[in-house]
Symmetry: C3
Subunit: 340 residues, 3 copies
């Protein structure tokens, strides 16, 4: 059996997967146990903007591979935020597409990553995940005037609030992973960036979208993206690579590059711009590339800006950069014409 046949068979298989979940997401039938489970998996897939249960399942596998606690957090958070959306009577099609799951997943991983686990913390995580549903709905109402999506902003806002509150709440103890508050100061070039650093950063950057530093997890996530769309798969790898390259050229510290810290926001920006918002022409490709490069600069800036309150940038650089580039785009006629 030749390689080309394997590829053809794989393509056909992937093609089927990408158009279906366990149940089609546009089914408005009464929410059964299976369709709830399907919504949860799609919610996990939506962390990287994929409305696909199989992709979500692979993301979940990838997270569990790297960390049992993070895997449980993803399930708990996605279930809590999705259930809150259903209890409050949100639009069912949005719930089915996983739009009320991904921010819950992320906030739960983040809180269990930055806070020492305890019964109180688990209650706190459920409350935070429920809040992402409120923040998501609020941002949808706010942003619909401009037709731009909320992205992971609910996760960022909710995580910052619930983690910062530790500084007043003596029964919530932060783990050593949370940065200590300090004042930003000039950087020096630290460590030597090798091809291995970049290769590691390439896959870690994808894994970091779920706060994981494992190359294997990054590869599992990449396969998850490939199931959903080849364009998205390519965009994610390219985004992660570009983020690492910008960091290298600018003289960022080697550990930040190989751990994927400069990659995960760029991965997400690249995925957004691979999803056909614009006509594909030389202008729109350059526009997307600029957005990815700028995301890496915004990441550096925000991670410095948040030092005085001891908070990481999370995916705020992705959210802000994409909002700006999407808001601006209707004014650029060259992104719409086919003669680019």
């Amino acid at each position: 059996m030749k390689l080309v046949h394997i590829y053809a068979a794989l393509s056909e298989f992937l093609g089927k997967l990408s158009t279906s979940g366990f149940e089609p997401s546009n089914t408005l039938a009464p929410q059964s146990g299976l369709s709830f489970f399907d919504s949860v998996l799609r919610g996990i897939g939506q962390v990287m903007l994929q409305n696909n249960s199989y992709t979500g399942l692979l993301f979940l596998v990838g997270v569990f591979y790297s960390s049992l606690m993070s895997g449980l957090a993803v399930l708990l958070g996605t279930v809590a935020s999705t259930a809150t959306a259903m209890l409050l009577g949100t639009d069912r099609a949005d719930v089915r597409a996983g739009l009320f799951g991904f921010n819950g997943a992320l906030v739960a991983i983040a809180l269990l990553y930055f806070l020492e686990p305890s019964v109180l913390v688990f209650v706190y995580v459920v409350m935070a995940a429920a809040c992402t549903t409120v923040v998501m709905s609020a941002l949808m109402s706010f942003l619909e005037k401009w037709g731009i999506p909320a992205l992971t902003a609910p996760f960022v806002v909710t995580t910052v609030v619930f983690v910062l509150a530790c500084a007043r709440f003596g029964r919530l103890q932060s783990t050593g992973i949370l940065p200590t508050a300090g004042l930003p100061k000039a950087a020096t070039v630290e460590g030597v960036v090798t091809v291995a650093s970049l290769a590691e950063g390439l896959f870690s950057g994808i894994a970091q979208v779920f706060f994981q530093g494992s190359v294997i997890t990054g590869i599992i996530f990449a396969v998850g993206l490939l199931i959903s769309s080849r364009a998205v798969f390519v965009a994610a790898l390219l985004g992660s690579l570009l983020g690492a390259l910008v960091a290298w050229v600018m003289g960022a510290a080697e550990p930040a590059i190989s751990s994927g810290a400069f990659g995960f926001n760029c991965v997400l920006t690249a995925i957004v711009f691979s999803r056909g918002f614009f006509v594909v022409n030389s202008h729109s490709v350059l526009y997307g590339l600029l957005a990815v490069l700028v995301t890496a600069v915004v990441y550096a800036a925000m991670s410095a800006a948040l030092e005085p309150i001891g908070m990481p940038a999370l995916t705020a650089p992705f959210v802000l950069t994409v909002w700006l580039f999407l808001l601006a785009s209707p004014r650029f006629s060259r992104l719409r014409s086919s003669a680019g």
Copy 2:
């Protein structure tokens, strides 16, 4: 005379008070001295969202009971911001309802609380109170696209700006009450919270809306709310109690709980959600409860986030939480249906 008769008589008396001020606020007759005075009292009442002159009068009495300077500040600020609104030709019905008074009242108390009084500071206070009218109008224009109210945001913005400027203006000296700028760090459980702490916090939390720490003032304010609406009275007490309870469960410092620091934002959130935005059903009650609990968390987070610039959170946690919960609410069908 039985207790039930006293209650009935009191109810009737309160019923009369709550439907009338010194003059009905919808009178558009030329602004007389009396109607200006009435607008000022309603403006003071609006600090807790009550369009009622008697409530405003009781609030003023409560503030004077606790601090002469704060009482004078309330009068000065409310008069300055209300007069500015009239001079610039704002909608008269809004002025009569006190909508251009409450932010002036609060900014004046805050500035005379955080800055050493001097002739220059009094001029500064009048200028700041006038600014709240501009900020209020700006926010009304901005927010009307979503139909949400400005709340006390003009007070927060104006106070932060005018107090922070001290760091550049040598002739404005801060009092020892203003927090010193620092970096937020992990909290430990401080002090033992007793029933007395919670009871004190219950009324101090209401008093803190006007920057007062007195239990008696809190009780006078509560009576003021009862005059206006029984639902609001109950909501305010419940809000203050919930704020103190969240703080206690989470391990906040005892002094912060007994002084009402965790209560005042929750009081205001609870008042908003008692005012019939939604159909009353189990979902909308739970939604309001979640909003109150979240307000306490947002308070902890914002008071930490503002440490590097040495500013208190003021009522920003109330404003941001209510904005989010109101913006989100149209998307939740269960808050509208009677079958909750």
Copy 3:
């Protein structure tokens, strides 16, 4: 020849200049080399809101007089942001009016003022200038719902991001001019403010709009404004003077006053309010004056608020104050009636 004749001749000459550039900006003919050059000069003029090539030329002369590097930066930044706008297919009339030049000019001066020049930094500057075009378009889309202009917000946002990123990028070194991150603390009155301080501050305040501290440059800029409009010329001087006076009365440090640090934001606010947004009457003049005074207070506050991240306030105080006063204005009937 009497003084009155000189004045008349000058007026006539200025009148001609102010209605024409090298080419009328409403020509929609294909963009020639000359019209591109004209767009660039108008872009430089727009730094102080003047759509006038001669004004832009004088600004450029003034900058070169004070600093060769800043002069080159203005050209590089304006060309880069204007060319980006053309490449992406922005509305041509906006490009011709210089609306996509001024933020590029400012970001380039700022980056070459705060960062040690290198090949990498020049590439970085071009990228930042290109970004101002995206941010400008995004803000135009966002703000058009309220009919308010983006002003220099794209410059502020882009500069803060690209300078802050230094804290992570070891190959970007900041110059000694960039403030060190610290915690704001109470000010004391420093130095003695003399008439000379105020006179120096008057012109330096205008020069500081382009980051220059030279009195001669300030005078050249003032002549540039006079060419465009006498009202604007008077407003700019008055704005700078008021900024210095507020700072003096409040007890700001003498060096901050004589260097024009308190003036440049007030200059810009005064120019906006001299441009006929409102009917000229006693109310609108007072409204404009209040806006200028408030700008100086907001400058003090923002420069303190940004200390923990070691960033200067740039023209953010101007932008925020003008946005608030413009947003609020439709609600003030006295700003529209002729009977003020």
